[in-house]
Symmetry: C2
């Protein structure tokens, strides 16, 4: 079975490529890794590494022609950019996704498709814990685009054109590497930068509560969805992945415990109302009974999330 | 102020044209009526009557060039056709709507837009009464397309490109004229045909409960949304219109009361599992507190709905 990862050079895509090459989805025998710039191959399975812009004319059809049995669709313009560049956001996050689903439909092989959606499909006002049947009411263009693609993928699946699952990922923290344009970027920066001896700014108050998961657990969730029997996934084409609900203050406490007060002292506290407004438009905790019943993985607590990062990068 | 009605030759569009020409939206001084085939003019206001396919290249821009201050977007492929013709459904219900919003955005005048959405954005399982913050989980391509357009219109409004409102109409009954391809068609046919001395079939059991409104009250709701101050509508860009929850048995009882047992006897009872499956995928009753607080109109009961039809058509 051939797996294709689109957005494979991204933070989650690179980790997912590695996990799958190491057997995270049973039965996968070769990998096609796709991104705007060709991703690096990963050890463990034969890899085709392709440079392609999914939004370019004909690109989706060329990728579909490689006849993947399983496609992870992770290519996206992140929230900050989608808000600043309205047309780019719709072109990449909506139109390119639709082109992909159309090209896969034309294969007539009903490939499995795992789409990385986001809690940004929700918008305020929220109950303290968001139930699984809560309304889609995005407060951003990014969230609107993710919600539209979830709906589209569910309809393509219902019609039997493919076998799609949308997974709403928690905010991923601690994100390794360089900062990105996401409004949630500081939720990694306030840990990653101090651990590297660098200053970081926390633009929101300590009490700000967020819903997060570590990179490894998030990627394990994507692989888990693909490995589950389709019969178990089909009734749940759109799922909230499991996460933990934690305050920014608790995150900084864990930093101090694991890296000392000097690390915490590197975090300045200059409020940024624009960032605060976006982050506060996201819910703080979710019911994830369906994902739990389907045995999706979860982080035990924030100190464990921080240790995952320190073990790999610090 | 110029109002444009797209889909003006349709059942609701024709009634809306008449109501607006008679002053239902204060301040409207001229009308542009648009449909695939040019609609007939209505008495009371100057009318431009245009034949246009909203989905054709350039059509949306040509309509926007007429600089409407208010647009009612009622053009759609109905549920049965959207399910049978997947690509046509997306082309008309999604792509043409998006082309319209893009063309109106380019005007930079932030026109008011009232979009006719549907309870088909919801899917089972349902609580007995669907709350206002219930998940969008359509069970049809038509419902998927309506949900996607609601999301798009809300995002265009949030960005300040236009001032849009999506109204989820109850199933409209008693629909005058010829049967249409909607799965809900029998909910009018079982009344309209017997009142004209003709046979009709009811494909679902008496206990089937549906959420309906009369044509006049539905159209009055569309006009009401356009007439409300934008400040009152803006926080509610997507609204469930008010309806009544009634069983098919109660509808037939009202028919017998108002037109006699001979009329009821014209209704045969041959089950149609395909129709039953679609209708049972729709919810039976809604919370509509927001619409009530905004003074949207509502039918008092089903006998009143039937009388509206008999007074006008029978
Ligand atoms: N990281 C998070 O906190 C988080 C949370 C929720 C959802 N997600 C979603 O998960 C997915 C992956 O997230 P990530 O953090 O790895 O993001 P990332 O930005 O690191 O990776 C996205 C990758 O997609 C690629 N890409 C973008 N447009 C493309 C195009 N047109 N053609 C080909 N490739 C294209 C980019 O080059 C990039 O390598 C995204 O869809 C994102 O929206 C992420
Ligand atoms: N009637 C109901 O029970 C009901 C319920 C919920 C929502 N709605 C929605 O209300 C709207 C009007 O409903 P109706 O019952 O009057 O439907 P209708 O079919 O009578 O009218 C729709 C009109 O749109 C026109 N149209 C379709 N595609 C077009 C295109 N590409 N360009 C120009 N015109 C086009 C058709 O020619 C038709 O005259 C539709 O959007 C429908 O989905 C109706």
């Amino acid at each position: 079975m051939r797996a294709m990862i689109i957005g494979a050079a991204g933070m989650l895509g690179a980790k997912l490529s590695t996990q799958i090459a190491q057997g995270a989805v049973p039965g996968i025998t070769d990998l096609v890794l796709v991104d705007r710039i060709a991703p690096a191959p990963v050890p463990g399975l034969p890899c085709q590494c392709l440079a392609a812009d999914l939004g370019a004319a004909g690109a989706a059809a060329e990728l579909a022609a490689l006849a993947p049995d399983l496609v992870f669709h992770l290519a996206a313009v992140v929230s900050g950019q989608a808000e600043a560049e309205f047309d780019t956001g719709y072109a990449v996050n909506l139109d390119a996704s639709r082109a992909l689903f159309e090209a896969l439909r034309a294969l007539e092989t009903r490939p499995r498709v795992v789409f990385a959606s986001s809690l940004a499909v929700y918008g305020p006002p929220f109950p303290d814990v968001v139930p699984e049947d809560f309304v889609l009411r995005p407060a951003s263009s990014y969230g609107t685009q993710k919600a539209m693609v979830e709906l589209l993928l569910a309809d393509y699946s219902r019609k039997g054109f493919l076998r799609g699952t949308s997974l709403r990922l928690p905010t991923v923290s601690v994100r390794p590497g360089a900062p990105n344009a996401a409004a949630s970027g500081f939720l990694s920066g306030i840990l990653r930068e101090p651990l590297a001896g660098q200053a970081a700014n926390c633009p929101v108050p300590d009490v700000t509560r967020v819903w997060i998961a570590s990179p490894d657990v998030t990627v394990a969730g994507l692989a888990h969805a693909a490995a589950l029997d389709w019969d178990r996934i089909a009734p749940h084409p759109v799922l909230n992945l499991r996460g933990i609900s934690v305050t920014v203050g608790e995150m900084l406490d864990a930093l101090e415990q694991q890296a000392g007060p000097d690390a915490r002292a590197l975090v300045s506290r200059n409020p940024d109302p624009a960032i605060a407004r976006i982050v506060q438009s996201w819910p703080e905790a979710f019911v994830t009974d369906t994902a739990a019943a389907l045995d999706f993985p979860v982080n035990p607590d924030f100190p464990a999330i921080l240790r995952e990062y320190i073990d790999q990068y610090a």
